[in-house]
């Protein structure tokens, strides 16, 4: 798949400046959030259900507009951009695939976005074929998406957004309800898309997923930004995690119990194995 039209840059910076947002008649869902996501950054937005993750992300494609504060997309104030302009740049994959799927066949569902971008029919067909291939959906191309299983509908929803090749891609809980194989495929696709220079944001409460796959993260709690930085440094802060209700992955908790915590605490299997082997040879050295 050709990543970009010549002359366009892949990534897009996204920025919130002192953003506050309240749904009508409710206390603020977001309070004073300032967060800059760099062009080409791959970031996880972590937090419990109800922390404000989805509300925050919906500001980047104009689905929500701030009560106060500013949203900058590619350096331009989002309030100067129409929802149509934002949608061309910022792709958004909903948590519930049925909130976005509507076409009669999988092929039509995927073709809708590229066609709306005003691409030539030949280019649309090329993108649709490449996307069906990349997602392993060739056999389902002519099936109504509504008849597919939940995991497959989620794939169709993601494929239809990725076919537009948005400069920034936001996915809301993309792995819930998927089996392990599908999760690995999906994370492989996202890592490749990020590798091409696109900005990718994954909204999740799955700390293990972030520790295994996503290099940067921001943590929200009760509508406020609690932390922002490299995944290793954010997740090795045990106080932060317990204050925000998130769980370390099992190997991280095991490391704590074995006194292998600290700033370089292992958070995935490979890192744990390395630290454990060091600790083990030290303890054998001492006992000799």
């Amino acid at each position: 798949m050709r990543p970009h039209e010549p002359g366009t840059s892949p990534g897009l910076s996204l920025e919130l400046v002192d953003l506050t947002f309240a749904y009508p008649g409710r206390p603020p869902a977001l309070s004073g959030v300032t967060l800059r996501i760099e062009r080409g950054e791959y970031l996880a937005l972590l937090g419990q259900n109800g922390a404000g993750k989805t509300t925050l992300a919906k500001h980047f494609n104009g689905l929500l507009r701030p009560s106060s504060g500013n949203v900058l997309v590619g350096g331009r104030d989002a309030s100067d951009l129409s929802i149509g302009e934002l949608a061309q740049q910022v792709g958004y994959v909903f948590q519930n695939p049925d909130h976005q799927i509507f076409a009669g066949t999988t092929r039509e569902e995927i073709a809708f976005g590229p066609r709306n971008l005003g691409l030539m029919e030949a280019e649309v067909a090329k993108r649709v074929d490449a996307t069906l291939e990349a997602f392993g959906l060739v056999a389902q191309a002519d099936t109504p998406p509504a008849m597919l299983g939940y995991g497959t509908r989620r794939k169709v929803a993601l494929a239809s957004v990725l076919a537009m090749r948005p400069q920034a891609l936001i996915l809301d809980e993309p792995t819930s309800g998927l089996d392990r194989r599908s999760v690995m495929e999906l994370m492989g696709l996202l890592s490749a898309y990020s590798g091409e220079g696109h900005t990718v944001i994954v909204i999740t409460h799955d700390v293990r997923l972030v520790a295994d796959h996503v290099p940067h993260c921001a943590v929200l709690t009760s509508g406020r930004l609690a932390a922002r930085g490299g995944t290793q440094s954010v997740l090795s802060d045990a106080n932060l995690l317990s204050a925000t209700g998130l769980d370390l992955p099992p190997v991280g908790r095991l490391a704590q119990r074995l006194g292998m915590g600290g700033a370089d605490a292992p958070l995935d299997v490979a890192a744990f194995k390395r630290s454990y082997e060091v600790k083990r040879s030290e303890s054998r050295g001492k006992s000799r």
Partner: protein
């Protein structure tokens, strides 16, 4: 007699037009003893939800389709015993449990089942109070289900099933959309039910770490059949076999296997307490 006794069960949803029937289940054999908690895993589309629905009679009674083999639950034939009759003893919480909630208050939601089988009001009240206490929602009995968090909604759906005092309870991915707090809530609740009530529980779950702490036994479905079946530690302790079937192993059993490959050790653990014990012993620290 096992609580659930499934033998050579085949099922195909009604074919569309002239299409050949597509068999979802192709010869499932599964016997679940009374009072045990069995975890069911398997890749997406392997027929886990179909199997759950067959246990409560929805498949094939409400779905139609083609059936072969047997499903007996508490001695009743689930293929022919009317679904409402089965529901007096066999409860189910659906994957999308929010779709099950439709009443104005939490307590009405839980009273709905017992009212429908014509129990006397005192009995209904005592069951509602017991079920809401069990799931920790008694304080919220007058609230609207809509206001509850994800974990609370899931606990409410379980309370609604519990109020029928089912001998068998089927949970279809009870934590799929829950955050860590919600997952812990449901884990604690299911553990209590297994320990205290003697119910037979069959729980479908993708999260092996979560299941490792709960189930006595784990069954993995693949190609419409039971591909792995055994004690939890044996099945979840073999990450290669699970991955080959598209199922994610517990992270700690992947860790044991990775360390064993490098160090030539023979560690075996799937749960946090076990792993801590084994590794502390290996390090020469008092576990």
């Amino acid at each position: 007699m096992p609580s659930i006794d499934i033998r050579d069960f085949h099922y195909a949803y009604p074919p569309l037009g002239q299409a050949e029937p597509r068999w979802v289940l192709r010869g499932v054999d599964l016997a679940v003893e009374a009072g045990s908690c069995v975890g069911v895993m398997g890749a997406t589309g392997v027929g886990k939800s179909t199997l759950c629905q067959a246990i409560v009679g929805i498949v094939p009674q409400l779905t139609g389709g083609i059936v072969r083999g047997q499903v007996r639950v508490l001695g009743e034939d689930a293929r022919s015993t009317p679904v409402p009759d089965l529901a007096r003893q066999v409860g189910m919480v659906f994957q999308d449990s929010e779709s099950q909630l439709f009443n104005l208050t939490v307590e009405e939601e839980v009273a709905f089942g017992p009212e429908n089988i014509g129990l006397p009001p005192e009995e209904i009240e005592s069951r509602v109070a017991w079920a809401l206490t069990t799931v920790g929602l008694i304080e919220s009995r007058k609230r609207s289900p809509v206001e509850l968090s994800g974990g609370e909604k899931q606990r409410l759906a379980i309370a609604a099933a519990l109020s029928m005092s089912p001998k068998v309870l089927v949970l279809d991915e009870p934590t799929a959309h829950l955050d860590p707090r919600g997952k812990r809530e449901i884990q604690a609740l299911v553990a209590t039910m297994v320990r205290d009530s003697g119910q037979t529980i069959l729980v479908v779950e993708q999260d092996a770490d979560w299941l490792a702490e709960l189930a006595d036994r784990v069954v993995v479905l693949a190609d419409g059949r039971v591909a792995l079946d055994g004690p939890t530690d044996a099945v979840l302790g073999d990450p290669e076999a699970l991955l080959a079937l598209g199922v994610g192993p517990p992270q700690l059993s992947e860790l044991a296997s990775a360390i064993n490959r490098d160090l030539g050790t023979r560690f075996a653990f799937t749960r946090l307490d076990e792993a801590e014990w084994v590794l502390k012993e290996d390090l020469g620290e008092a576990p």
